[in-house]
Symmetry: C2
């Protein structure tokens, strides 16, 4: 059976565009650092082991894309430096990070479990991703979801 | 203020491990194709424009990682070929793909909107990702989530 998706162009696909921003291992690792409160170049470099030039490029790219912003700070006796903070566009990547973490925890963790947990500030319970439809139904099986052309779909 | 995350090792981080599998633009685009029912090499190649060798490598990698499996099929008069189907490990990437799509739609779509929509099979309403804690509270603000050491956390 010929899949209906073959009739539609992927030229303006937003998954592909999102992955132009995110599609590199270190990019999401840098975002993990910032979401964890690690905002300074040297802290990130030492903790992650990302090569200096790669980290410089990833941070510059994320600033250029409007995902991170640079904020000046000054330690006593030092020159002004910058730390990296999430913009609203960056904060909106949080569900992506939680979804990637959940999948990694399920399939790629050591037997002892994940090194990272995400808790709800109010009650402490673990936070996870759920799929719902806008009519309020939970969607638990990927087979219950139909991919279909959106408003910007172009025929091929 | 010194971030608490600096006390903990990232050696066994499952975000980084997940991105070893996913951290490349074309990988998630290949998964988008399969989730959209496009399962055959030639269909994917023509639709996405991924270079032949790159697509071969990505598919082999995803099979090796247990995300996709190869299923034989035969058209009349042709030799046996294989198509690619999601394993359970692959189906569990669905929330990642929906989260990436949502972020792309919000920030990177053309003015006319996204080319792709995901509908609930039962009612047709749009499907999206929500964060909840296991106590059942919706989590709408990333600031309401506390990253903290998990069971597998190692001090640095």
């Amino acid at each position: 059976m010929r899949p209906a998706a073959l009739d539609w162009s992927v030229d303006n696909c937003t998954v592909a565009r999102a992955m132009e921003v995110l599609g590199e291992k270190w990019t999401l690792v840098v975002l993990r650092e910032v979401f964890n409160g690690v905002r300074r170049f040297d802290d990130m470099r030492v903790r992650t082991g990302i090569p200096r030039q790669v980290l410089t490029n990833r941070l510059a790219g994320l600033v250029e894309q409007g995902v991170l912003r640079r904020e000046p700070y000054q330690e006593p006796g030092s020159r002004i430096r910058h730390e990296y903070r999430l913009t609203p566009k960056g904060f909106d990547l949080w569900p992506v990070l939680v979804a990637v973490l959940a999948w990694g925890d399920r399939y790629l963790a050591d037997p002892e479990g994940s090194p990272l947990s995400v808790g709800h500030r109010d009650c402490g319970a673990e936070v996870h991703v759920e799929l719902h439809c806008t009519a309020g139904h939970p969607v638990t099986d990927p087979r219950d979801v139909i991919p279909r052309p959106g408003p910007g779909a172009h025929p091929r």
